[in-house]
């Protein structure tokens, strides 16, 4: 601003009108407020969960299975492991399907067939989870005549597909055409270009989409009621009814016993920590080394 004093005739070039300065400050403050508002719900939820749940959270909560009703103590070890197994199998189903169809849409889907797949994915994304749960119940549970961990994983896996599909497509379309051209120009086959160059360039973005899908289904309760059903005992068999954290939280939160209500809060806290932890670990791995530069 020294110029103001020394070179009089250029002064006007440096002057910013009052109106502009007001608008600038207002916009900055507005955006800062918006950012704070976005973070607030998460902070409030997390703090409240810690406040209500930390009391019932102890080592035996994480390592023991539920005690018979009326007895004190017990934990959610079976639900934690059940959730982990269900999510693992659901991911094994949903992620490859989602990435595959996302690649199809981005690389080969500029046509009517692509539009059909795109529309289907969007509709599937909008299907209520309870409908997906009851459908899997009708197709798997009824025909097998028993609830099972596997049927729960199928329900959640189906729910992951549309999110992974659409986010993969969006990210792949962001990979610059010049990167594809570079690879084609080297005499690399179409298939290799897609897998080893385009997908590799987009890895970080695709991971973000997967994490979104994962976080969404990790907390799903309704579809598991028809499928995994819940289990008060220790079971890791895909063919048996299994417990899962959201189910256990639901049953305990609606229970008449205060002890169980407290455990429900602790379960909710554990569920959030596990989801945030999983996302954190994946992000950490993804941000290491060269993948940092990815789209």
């Amino acid at each position: 601003m020294d110029n103001d004093k020394h070179s009089g005739h250029e002064t006007h070039a440096w002057k910013v009108s009052f109106g502009r300065r007001v608008a600038n400050s207002a916009a900055t403050i507005g955006m800062a407020c918006a950012a704070v508002l976005v973070v607030t719900p998460l902070v409030v939820i997390f703090s409240y969960l810690v406040y209500r749940g930390i009391g019932a959270l102890n080592w035996s909560f994480l390592t023991q299975i539920p005690k018979p009703v009326g007895e004190a103590g017990g934990g959610m070890a079976n639900a934690i492991v059940g959730s982990a197994l269900i999510l693992l199998i659901a991911s094994a189903i949903g992620i490859p399907l989602g990435i595959g169809s996302g690649v199809f849409l981005a690389e080969y889907g500029r046509n009517r067939y692509g539009d059909v797949v795109r529309f289907t994915a969007d509709v599937l994304n909008g299907v209520p989870s309870i409908v997906i749960g009851s459908t899997v119940w009708g197709l798997l549970v009824v025909t097998q005549k028993h609830f099972s961990l596997f049927s729960g994983a199928v329900a959640l896996g189906i729910m992951m597909v549309p999110t992974v599909t659409r986010s993969t497509e969006e990210i792949l379309l962001m990979v610059p055409q010049s990167v594809r051209e570079a690879a084609i120009g080297l005499g690399i086959s179409q298939w290799r270009v897609t897998v080893s160059v385009v997908l590799r360039t987009a890895t970080a973005g695709i991971l973000t989409g997967i994490m979104l899908a994962f976080a969404r289904v990790a907390g799903e309760t309704a579809p598991l009621m028809f499928t995994a059903f819940g289990n008060q005992f220790w079971s890791v068999s895909p063919n048996q009814p299994a417990s899962a954290l959201p189910l256990q939280i639901f049953y305990y939160a609606t229970s008449a016993f205060e002890e169980l209500n407290r455990q429900a809060w602790a379960g909710a806290l554990v569920l959030i920590v596990l989801i945030v932890g999983t996302i954190g670990i994946v992000r950490l791995v993804a941000s290491r080394g060269l993948m940092k530069g990815a789209v």
Partner: protein, 253 residues
């Protein structure tokens, strides 16, 4: 060793718009040939027809014949993928693979075509980077830096090294220095000067001084047609065609 390139009756279209009309051009081996002309005259389209990159654009079409060495480029049964391995290409904007290390960028062409032998890859990466005059600048960060972390000029030389690694016979360069500063440009030009001992080089350029500096032969394109093709010296001193003269003296374009 470089091989000659022969284009005969070459026509190219984008959808219904014709971009090239009846191009006939003999490009000699082991020399640099410059393609000059105003924007939109079809020079890029022409080089992209030589390695069949043109047909990767939706609705693009080619008619006519191109021979590179003994290979009939548009002949029945010539696989485009195979051809592109023998005809390297460097693009206007440096386009390294952003998430690959420097080493992986250079090795990409070989690796993705199935070569796994570590010793052979090491050797090829070093040779290519030396040829592209980039080795000394990156030899200590081959595996720790990504291709995207280099400067623009280094990225372009990386792309040249990447193209050289698959040992092509022909090198197509589509305005390889137009996005670079003068120092990087002169490095790339020096490089072209050395590379033509071993390769046939076709370079598209907007910069006529550049054409005069690096190329023995020059072709002038205008509105999709080849107006004149001759020794560079001849084109710039005594062009036969009035339109060539108008262009090189800056009367249009």
């Amino acid at each position: 060793m470089g091989v000659p390139i022969q284009a005969k009756g070459l026509n190219a279209w984008f959808g219904k718009t014709q971009a090239l009309y009846d191009i006939a051009l003999d490009i000699p081996p082991n020399h640099a040939t410059a393609i000059i002309g105003p924007s939109g005259c079809g020079k890029s389209t022409f080089v992209r027809c030589l390695n069949r990159m043109h047909e990767t654009v939706p609705n693009a079409r080619v008619a006519g014949s191109v021979n590179i060495g003994t290979v009939d480029v548009y002949g029945n049964g010539t696989p485009a993928v195979e051809l592109r391995r023998r005809v390297g290409m460097v693009f206007q904007k440096p386009n390294p693979f952003p998430t690959m290390s420097i080493y992986d960028n250079v090795a990409a062409g070989l690796r993705l075509n199935g070569i796994r032998n570590r010793h052979k890859l090491d050797e090829s990466v070093e040779r290519s980077l030396r040829q592209a005059a980039l080795w000394d600048e990156v030899k200590d960060s081959l595996n720790t830096k990504s291709g995207a972390s280099l400067s623009g000029g280094q990225q372009q030389r990386l792309c040249i090294a990447r193209a050289l690694a698959v040992e092509p016979e022909v090198m197509l360069m589509d305005e390889p220095a137009s996005a670079l500063d003068p120092i990087s440009t002169s490095k790339v030009e020096d490089l072209i000067y050395q590379l033509k001992e071993h390769y046939t080089i076709v370079i598209v350029t907007h910069n006529m001084q550049q054409a005069a500096r690096v190329a023995e032969f020059t072709g002038f394109f205008l509105m999709g047609r080849l107006v004149e093709f001759d020794k560079t010296e001849k084109i710039f001193t005594t062009p036969r065609d009035k339109r060539t003269e108008d262009y090189i003296t800056g009367r249009f374009g």
